[in-house]
Amino acid sequence: MIGSGRKRLLIALLFLLPNLAGFLLFTAGPVVFSLYLSFTDTSLTEHNRYSDASPRWVGLDNYARLLWGDESVFFWDYFWNTVFLMIGIPLSIFGSLALALLLNSKATPAKPKSRWLLSGVAAAFTLIACFGTWVLAAPDEAARAVMSTETGLTDLTVYEVQTLRRNGLTLFVGLVGVVVTAGLGIGQMFFRAAFYLPTLLAGVAMFLLWKTLYRPRGGLINAVLDPILGAVETMVEATPAWLWYGLGIATAALGVFLSVRLTVTGVGRLRHGDVGPAAFGTRVMLTLTLLASMVGLGVVLAQLPAKALLPSGYLPLTPEQSDRALASFEGELGGEYDELEFTAVRSNFERGPAFEDLVARLASIKSEEATARVQRHVAETTRRAAEEGVLSREEAVASVEAFIAEFDVASAPASQLRELVADPDRTPQLRVLVDAMSVALVRTFGERIADVLDPLAPADGAAFTKAGAGRAIDAVAEAFAGEFEPAAIEAVRRELTTVAYRDAYSQLVSIAGEDNEAAVAAILTETASRDRAGLTAGAGLEPPEWLISSRWAKTALIIMGVWLGIGGGNMLLYLAGLSNIAPELYEAAAIDGATGWQRFIHVTWPQLAPTTFFIVIMSTIGGLQGGFEQALVMTQGKADTIVLTYYLYNLAFNGNFQLGLASAVAWIMFAIIFAMTAFNFRFGSRMTNE
């Protein structure tokens, strides 16, 4: 016996004293102090030992600023960013559960001999696969002297690039083989360790790795997506549009049908007391998710072909449309803008290309064709491909003279060509000669175009108006009928004679004022043509720009978060939970004739309810606090990825030093987390107990 109750208490407190002191000093104390700070206007730069000013008590002013005051725009924007990023939590939880179920199953043989035998076979296959990859992906020896033309790789030869790719592919095949071999040999334990690995790696390293994967061009993810999207595009273009409309409508209709059926079934079960309100609520949420997914998929399918159902935007304004828009603007908003500024805007709308620019732009259509013709000519006259080294001066002169004669090259570019090959000290490389000849051909064509345009050009060297440029382009197309691709001419016309819808909008609003924004929008929507291009029109189906695009950056972070979360602590908790389920329950279910799915729904899932409950709470807390590292390392807060914790950091330290305001953010976050946790406990525990 140690002594009386009080003495025992004293001894216990003495033992706990170091821990308690640490807690009070380093945790409770700062927490209470931050609560105090949140009611003051403390700023590190204004309130310190060098300043006479003291922090002022402002009461709830900081909270008011954040929730509905001048900081509310930022606060709520970042709050919704935080919430959006939590979309990945259910996916991560279900993914962890699925992984745990897989890792709990008996996928590998129990007997070591069988395992080693299978492992040996897998190892043999791996070696064969690696050897096969090495041989099949061998680089082209002829490419040793040719420099790569791929963006970012122009410093390497084609041979070196192919070698790098071969090595990478072989390594990848080998890695997959090793994983399968080791898994078969060692058993489930290997796979459990392998899936858990990402959790052990440093967060920053993982973020940087994913940043590389997410590169819009050349990143692994888009490298895989690109051919898939290309195949979809090909398929859509090869099939009639009505097929995709029908598919889209059918998908959406099926989604509606299933949702209604599930809801009706759920209502029936609720009325009969088969399920409680919480379970019914879950069913409703899942049904809504199913409905949204299938309707969304239906819309995407219907939008795939060109001339899809829903317009996607506005086409640029033609000169006629610009005139109509300006006339409407004058009529409806006359007197609400400065006349001089309106004149400037009208001038912007009307101003077209300079004579030389129009000639250059039209002539440049022929660049590729010019190069191809020159390469053919050079090959014929020199009997060499364009890449092969240096010509003798005589060869070069002969080739040039033949070229000038054959293509009737204009005098100025012809003189330059002759000058190029006349220098005895300078024998041009074949590539340089081909390039110079291409330029000469384009310039010759330019002179022919200029001859057609000259009578149509404005006097005194003034630039064309957009309307005038349109007429000039028509004249050129007519004069050179058959020499221009219609699409190329249309591209030039669109580029040089139209006003972009958005530019027209912003210019008119800038002179009319924001109060007249709605009127400007109405004028332009009435005037402009709607663009009914589908997803595969124009640039086609492009892979997303991930971290660069504010539309996709958060989705990219969610995908990364799900990948990181699947094999982590949640998987371990579920594995532990699964091992605690009594086998008798499964035996009983098997005796009753339950299928695998029924066993999962009626045995596994209910038995895992406490584990799920815990995981949901912890994930919610983590989700509300998270996103900081990703924003800092991967996007630096760009592309609309700032979350509440990052906002707090910016306010407190990143040049603002507003400790009072930052503390208020922290306490609001605490209140939100507390409320959500309380909600989870109240309704989640009810579900757990049902």
Partner: protein, 673 residues
């Protein structure tokens, strides 16, 4: 188990004791000071006039005491100390420490030491050594200095200083950071000291002043710092790409239209050769709006008047370069070609990865800083120069003298591309390069950055050192600021290509930017006077406002410019949004902060109306801060700059035979009217 744990603890204890007692790290302390003394003694011996008053005698007395302590082992030529083996030198170091104790009455560990929070650039150690020597040469007493790279961050610096524990010298970047240091009370006002000791504001570039000093309510400048260097970016281009495409090499001043046409020709030429290349990289929307004559604030910084035709022109030029003319990469393209973890978006393509992309000729032109010399020089060294030297050295016919020079060049540049090479060795290295070698070099050209108005504008800031008012060595810290104004320090900045120095008097000599070493082959233009012209004639400091923090400005402007970069917003709309958001924030700050409001009213000369529906610039109507008055003054400034640019551009075009200057579209079509 308990015996195992006890054994491990014992082993750990023994090793720790050994490290502390036997290795005697403090015996190594003082070597830098010893080096300073030997350099200074030799310098005085060569020319006694370099020393300050009474310094010669002090140094001589110290050396005499040292010799006595060394018992005759100290060589007459002190510089030869440094070619001795470390073991041979150690007793002399011990003697040095003893002499130090005798002469000064305190040990080397107690020598006055400044802590300088700066980056971990290797050049800082050289600069620290220069300071030790400079201090000894000018004052005859020892001073030591150590760098502290781990506490450079402004937040850490302010937190440590207000807690009473900060470095003696703190680095600040630009006017906004200086403002934060001044407002927090950390920075020491050095105005009077600077006037007395000769490191005043007038010594530095005009554009660097707002980074060194703040203007008080009375309009007087109060100085708090002195520049370590000045930072801004110019245009780099590949000379060989221009020559191959027969496009006139730029120098500037030149306009965005000219640059676009030039870039177009370079891209077309590359495409004919089957290569995809960008014309120009690393231009930013933020800068281009300002370069065109836009300003975030009016002159009094009482409101934002960003939405002007000039700003829209600049933003339009930026947008067109990417989306209409296709000569600059989109943010996605820029991010795609960047190395992992390196570059961010288009204008943020940063440092090492961006310059390596430029070196790989992903872009023909690139906006970068002089500090990128090191990465480019290392590339030339590793890929071209060292193999060329090795090939030449392998020739039997090579004479001994040339062989020695090549070996000297090779060993020097292998060690560090910034180390000086003798003229003869440099010439030998150059002669070893064949035409094929030169074709493999990065051959850099330097030009002014093109702008929408044709007159360059550089948003220049300075990296400055300021004194922590709680420093225990304030006088020594002030001497450090004086050292920053010395020729030795500033030449070292120029020599190490750490941008250029902050003192215009030390920037140029007859050969270009002052001081050896000579640039490695291909990078001679890194010594171009364009760098000094940029700072001297065209630079201005970044504009800040006391009514909105720079950080908040970035938070408001950044997303809008991001949308512009991603073609989700037009230039006019972007300008309008930016102006509105900044003004809303300033208005909110004024409504909330009484002191700030009083300051605003004192400047504007009328009361601030807190009505949230009233637009801030509207409150400035009929005052000298109004939009119309501001615009009138800005247009005059733009006219003057354009006139100046036109005069500067005459005769500066460097044409390639057979082509027009700057490669205009007319030249591309071969047609003129």
């Amino acid at each position: 188990m308990r015996w195992l744990i006890a054994g491990l603890v014992l082993v750990w204890g023994v090793f720790t004791a050994f490290a502390y007692l036997v290795v005697l790290p403090e015996e190594q302390a003082g070597e830098e000071l010893m080096r300073a003394y030997t350099s200074v003694a030799e310098a005085i011996e060569a020319d006694a006039t370099v020393a300050g008053p009474g310094v010669e005698a002090k140094v001589a007395a110290f050396v005499a005491a040292w010799r006595e302590r060394a018992g005759g082992a100290l060589p007459d030529d002190l510089e030869t100390l440094w070619s001795m083996e470390a073991d041979t030198r150690r007793p002399l170091l011990v003697a040095f420490r003893e002499a130090f104790q005798e002469i000064y009455g305190f040990g080397i560990e107690d020598a006055p030491t400044l802590v300088w929070s700066t980056d971990d650039n290797p050049a800082r150690q050289v600069q620290c050594q220069l300071f030790r020597e400079w201090h000894l040469l000018n004052y005859g007493t020892p001073a030591d200095i150590v760098t502290d790279p781990s506490n450079r961050d402004i937040t850490k610096a302010i937190v440590q200083c207000v807690a009473g524990k900060g470095p003696d010298l703190i680095e600040s970047y630009g006017p906004e950071q200086l403002r934060q240091f001044v407002e927090s009370g950390v920075a020491l006002d050095v105005t009077e000291a600077a006037q007395e000791d000769g490191f005043g504001l007038d010594m530095a570039f005009e554009a660097a002043k707002p980074s060194m000093a703040t203007r008080g309510p009375d309009g007087e400048w109060r100085q708090y710092a002195f520049p370590c260097n000045v930072g801004y970016t110019v245009l780099f281009y590949h000379q060989d790409l221009f020559e191959a495409a027969e496009v006139a090499k730029p120098r500037g001043p030149w306009s965005v239209e000219e640059a676009t046409a030039t870039a177009r020709r370079l891209i077309d030429h590359a495409e004919r050769e089957g290569t995809r290349r960008f014309g120009i990289m690393n231009l930013g929307a933020w800068d281009m709006g300002v370069h065109a004559g836009g300003r975030f604030f009016n002159e009094s910084a009482t409101a934002s008047l960003y939405n002007t035709p000039e700003t829209v022109r600049g933003l339009t030029a930026y947008h067109d370069m990417i989306y209409r003319d296709d000569v600059a990469p989109t943010p996605a393209e820029a991010a795609s070609v960047a190395a992992a973890g390196g570059a961010t978006m288009n204008a943020g393509a940063e440092a090492a990865s961006a310059s390596s992309l430029f070196a790989a000729k992903v872009a023909a032109m690139y906006v970068g800083g002089r500090w990128e010399y090191v990465s480019l020089a290392e590339r030339n060294r590793d890929r071209v120069i060292l193999p060329a030297i090795a090939r030449r050295l392998a020739e039997d016919s090579l004479d001994d003298e040339t062989r020695q020079l090549l070996i000297e060049a090779r060993e020097t540049i292998r060690q560090d591309v910034l180390l000086p090479i003798s003229d003869e060795a440099h010439a030998a290295m150059n002669a070893a390069l064949t035409d094929e070698d030169r074709a493999g070099l990065v051959r850099l050209g330097v030009a002014h950055v093109p702008t929408a108005i044709g007159a360059p504008t550089y948003n220049a800031g300075a990296r400055v050192a300021l004194v922590n008012r709680s420093s225990e060595h304030v006088d020594l810290a002030l001497r450090f600021l004086r050292f920053l104004g010395s020729e030795a320090y500033n030449e070292q900045i120029n020599q190490t290509y750490d941008s250029i120095c902050g003192v215009p008097a030390f920037t140029l000599d007859d050969d270009g930017i002052s001081g050896p070493p000579r640039a490695l082959p291909g990078l001679e233009e890194m010594d171009s006077p364009v760098f000094v012209e940029a700072m001297d004639e065209w630079a201005r400091s970044e504009q800040i406002s006391p009514f909105i923090t720079r950080t908040r400005l970035g938070e408001l402007v950044g997303p809008v410019l991001e949308d512009l970069q991603n073609d989700a917003l037009g230039p006019a709309e972007a300008a309008r949004l930016i102006e509105r958001r900044i003004n809303e924030q300033i208005s909110a700050n004024l409504r909330r902060n009484e002191m700030l409001r009083g300051r605003w009213e004192a400047i504007v000369g009328k009361a601030f109306d807190p009505d949230p529906s009233l637009y801030l610039p509207d409150q400035l109507e009929e005052t000298e801060h109004s939009r119309s008055a501001f615009r009138e003054r800005m247009l005059r400034v733009i006219d003057d700059k354009q006139r100046q640019a036109a005069e500067a551009a005459v005769g500066k075009a460097d044409g390639v035979s057979g082509s027009d200057s700057f490669g205009s579209p007319a030249a591309a079509s071969g047609v003129t009217r």
